[in-house]
Symmetry: D2
Subunit: 389 residues, 4 copies
Amino acid sequence: MSIQRGRHFLQIPGPTNVPDRVLRALNRPTVDHRGPEFARLTRDLLEGLQQVCKTSGKIVIYPSSGTGAWEAAVVNTLSPGDKVLMFETGHFATMWRNLAVRLGLQVDFVPGDWRRGVDPAVVETQLAEDRGRAIKAIMVVHNETSTGVVSRVSEVRKAIDRVGHPALFMVDSISSLALTDYRHDEWGIDVTVGSSQKGLMLPPGLGFNAIGEKALATSKSARLPRSYWDWEAMMNANQTGFFPYTPSTNLLYGLKEAIEMIREEGLEKIFARHNRLAEATRRAVRAWGLEVNCLNPQEYSNSVTAVRAPEGQNADALRKLILERFNMSLGNGLGKLQGKVFRIGHMGDFNELMLAGTLSGVEMGLALAGAPFKKGGVQAAIDYLAGNE
Amino acid sequence: MSIQRGRHFLQIPGPTNVPDRVLRALNRPTVDHRGPEFARLTRDLLEGLQQVCKTSGKIVIYPSSGTGAWEAAVVNTLSPGDKVLMFETGHFATMWRNLAVRLGLQVDFVPGDWRRGVDPAVVETQLAEDRGRAIKAIMVVHNETSTGVVSRVSEVRKAIDRVGHPALFMVDSISSLALTDYRHDEWGIDVTVGSSQKGLMLPPGLGFNAIGEKALATSKSARLPRSYWDWEAMMNANQTGFFPYTPSTNLLYGLKEAIEMIREEGLEKIFARHNRLAEATRRAVRAWGLEVNCLNPQEYSNSVTAVRAPEGQNADALRKLILERFNMSLGNGLGKLQGKVFRIGHMGDFNELMLAGTLSGVEMGLALAGAPFKKGGVQAAIDYLAGNE
Amino acid sequence: MSIQRGRHFLQIPGPTNVPDRVLRALNRPTVDHRGPEFARLTRDLLEGLQQVCKTSGKIVIYPSSGTGAWEAAVVNTLSPGDKVLMFETGHFATMWRNLAVRLGLQVDFVPGDWRRGVDPAVVETQLAEDRGRAIKAIMVVHNETSTGVVSRVSEVRKAIDRVGHPALFMVDSISSLALTDYRHDEWGIDVTVGSSQKGLMLPPGLGFNAIGEKALATSKSARLPRSYWDWEAMMNANQTGFFPYTPSTNLLYGLKEAIEMIREEGLEKIFARHNRLAEATRRAVRAWGLEVNCLNPQEYSNSVTAVRAPEGQNADALRKLILERFNMSLGNGLGKLQGKVFRIGHMGDFNELMLAGTLSGVEMGLALAGAPFKKGGVQAAIDYLAGNE
Amino acid sequence: MSIQRGRHFLQIPGPTNVPDRVLRALNRPTVDHRGPEFARLTRDLLEGLQQVCKTSGKIVIYPSSGTGAWEAAVVNTLSPGDKVLMFETGHFATMWRNLAVRLGLQVDFVPGDWRRGVDPAVVETQLAEDRGRAIKAIMVVHNETSTGVVSRVSEVRKAIDRVGHPALFMVDSISSLALTDYRHDEWGIDVTVGSSQKGLMLPPGLGFNAIGEKALATSKSARLPRSYWDWEAMMNANQTGFFPYTPSTNLLYGLKEAIEMIREEGLEKIFARHNRLAEATRRAVRAWGLEVNCLNPQEYSNSVTAVRAPEGQNADALRKLILERFNMSLGNGLGKLQGKVFRIGHMGDFNELMLAGTLSGVEMGLALAGAPFKKGGVQAAIDYLAGNE
């Protein structure tokens, strides 16, 4: 690869472009994590994440990836051999399932085609059949980063309620939080799993849980062994503004700045911005004559669009060409979708012109790869963006 | 203006986007500018700028804008009342003229229409008529940032040589250096005027001169008062690696990094890259049915394209709309061109996708402004870029 | 607290002052953690940490605190109910014990007075008595950050060998690595536990394990549930330069720079530098008429000196006064030592003048607090430093 | 020089340590210097510098060193051949004199011994003798950075007033501003000359003038040629928030942050802080048995202490040893004082512990150099600082 000039376009679906403001915040000198300044920071952050999750419940923050926050949700609420209901919506749902299996749970994994979200009707049926109430938790990925499909979490909640099933409802909101409407309290989520490197516009390195009352109560008797992830130790220490072990001080500085940026723009405006950029992306895809991986328009993702590679094309070869020629990283197909899709991340600190550059890179890449496609995707996107405030 | 997210597109024709590497270099702790580490830095920088200017002559670097480097060129080589020949190629040539007049020179200012560069034939005629050799210097702006027109400096040199005129040849290379082919020694330039914030990819704050033997000799007898700009004091101090007064330490760190980046890519590749991006820009302009300000294809600028606003449109209103809606700054029309052109900077740390984003912002702005134009400029640009390595 | 100017003195025993070079590295734009550039980075880092740990074995790096790396060592090598031998050398040893208990291990915890390291003779006795070889692991904290006491790890190894006991030997090297002589392979360590925020001069957020052959073999049959911390998944992904989940990209950039700095200075010189600064600190403490918490000169810490507060003085009140008046953070007494000691961190990117400033802050604080002490500690330290290269 | 770890102590009397907050501000992306955001910035800065100078008059800011601001003061107010009164208080006063001579002024240069400030009685005598009012300006350096001597500017003003002399009073406040009490309006200063790299805590690269009504009026008829430095062009452009040529955008960001920091602490507290640190420094010097260069306690500098090297010692050899052994830069003796003094800068973002480290470096250096001195300077300083709030 020759020397590349100009800004790299990091259009993978996370980590996302870290805004300058956040980068500068990350760079502040590390302070004493047992001192008074730090205690104020902790309290601000917990309050800020409550707002972002729309909850008045507890928040815990880990020095970890999002995977760590998955594990935390599981080990704090469940016991060895517990049965849980999960859905094969894509690669990350499958990974979470694998984690649960490894930790000794018994997983009912509803198969899926990686192009649709969780079907609330299926949830209802499954739970209705569980007359013995053996299922202890229903675990759903809100936005499947690998497929660009959103599961309708609020409808899943209604399905659970219709059955009156007592299982915990745990949702991975890693790539939907601060990107797509999400309401921990109103939707009756018991545990929300989040991380830093998507809508929160930070580098990776922070995972967190938002925890409802019911989950908290359940955690008292949950018997999976836990220490690093233990909610109780974390919440106890947090009460005075501290952590039970050394927190990721500099990432927490960045989180404070990111929350401030989210407040300035406002969650509803953030959702609308992403919705608009995502729609422009899909119009480009269709204009190229390509196919959006997500089949159901109700389940389109605000954060990422997975595009089916044209017939006979290897999506990874296309990605490689685009990286080398145009200094842009696109997301690869994961698991079952390897080589079959490329994913365009359009989330976080992102705007119209960045998107236009991104889509231009894809269109030029398709042309240079000799792929069967129609020109005009970028034009369709900017026509939409210019016509639609 | 509402909250804007994502990266600002700084598409004015300088200051240009400062690359991350340079920003990080700027941020190093300030050191003693009279210490051994600094002396090494000074020597590296002088050598680096020699390479960039293609000269084996002297370099002096000022804590100043490019305007300061104009003044330095003048006060070191000329005496009160000296006659100089200048050309009205645009706003910056006019400003340089004004500076010369203020400092007490007598300026022959050849009028121009701000759409063409210096005509070598006119130079030849003017000099031929100067039988008394009263003209002490010919001063030309290589790339007129206000008009997007390049003057053919090497042909001007030939014109001077044909007449055998002894005047100094001083060239403003502020917005051409490290962007367009430029050869201080080979083209017989006596003084080159440069600054930091264009092809050198730095923030503004450094001006410099490259100085040929003849200019150096002339400076011994030049009588315009000077102190801050005095070459001799500067060169004497530089010999040991220091400066006669406090230099701009942190910008000099950035300059070292920028020179390193220029070496990595190579000047010829840098010129080719800019040529390609400039041509793509012009194709977009033509596809929109708009007019490039520069009339002569031999004089197209690698750095900036000035676009004539559509009939009946105020270019500044368009720029304002684009800034507010799409978070992009374009260059305004300066002097005679105020309101009549907008300028697209495409120089420095810049690449295809940044350009596609830039042009998309212009196309969407034109649409939203209700300007008479044809769609398809972005398409024309990316078709060119994808077809033409 | 009034406005404070000048640099904060962060003299807690970690996180330590992050050097400018590392801060700048942290600030690089996040790249695709599944791209080719990242794969090269991963390989460099694993190799670099091998050098730092003096091992040719495996390294795994987690997005976690050091506590996470403790948990990783445990869950990868042990099974529910396994018996392990640990030593109450201080707060962190106690915390590691608590973690082991929480995860379901049976811990033989040899009591201690928090002023001495692990006694190799006791290790020998305990292991000799374990005729059934029930003890599966011996877990030792090399440098007890809470007490400023180093346990003689190589002698513990010899004690184990004398008995010929097959237990794994796992060492927490969090606050000794790149600070004090440490040799994973030569000393026969099975698992080394490390983290980023001490000798590696990074912000907190990375934990790691160095893993010997025997530990690796044991991990195949270890039955504690694990997923996030699972070595095998990590090592498999690392083989191609990637991670099984999103790594802490920006901290990894910083790690690369830190390793480079460690290579430039050289481990032996780093150890000597810390030894010298630690000795100067102890001389100051003695000159003040105060007592170093560590009782055995063979067990003095290179990284941190815990100082017993003068009779009748609350160490935390003194720390508060010093923070408010002199903008310096000192480490507090932890656990049993709360209020009884203050800890002076002197590790990482640290030098003589920073130490002199630090000790001056302590001496002025003692004076202002009206504590019973003798002046002259700073003088003793600088006399030593000036006389002793 | 071997690898040095830990923070460099930059104790030259400017550039000073740039605080992290300012470094981060410098790092913001460059914006359009002709856009609305920039116009707001300009207005904030001009207002801020008025507060710092205690004036309601005009401020102009140049991309230049302080030397440029000297030149600006001269060329805007004087005409070729004008007579000015200056005082040989040290190296910088001599440099300013040289500049004035080079620009064609006739300088009455009152000789001095580089250990005392301007004598108000001498000013009075000289002006009284100037019956023809030929003297057009009195030019004084407030704090002589080369000698550590402050001239009593307000008393000089009174001396001028007693004579009723109409000459302009121009003061170089480069190393006193925001460090020592300074009142442009109240003290009847006509032009104040300042720069960025001392009390303003920025890297070098900005020079400025504060301009009183009388100076402004005089500038209308002043005939020294000027263009870059022309006040009128600058003030005209500033009215709309812009600059007549490209300003040093990123340094201006830093200036905004620095002014904010100055406001937070308050000028009077800043003066008191520097006074205290300077007094502690002098006590150290005396305890060492060395001599402060400044002879008159009324003229002690808050910013810098020049220390006479012990008999038979070369100050530069001592400085070199300290740089190599302790990673600290001290100021060298300039001009007549070369090799005879070393200068300890104690200004800007500076505090007690940084000073204690600084003085420890000097004391250790003296010891290692085998210089004749008494130990105990650091002790004297910290005793003072601990006893004296």
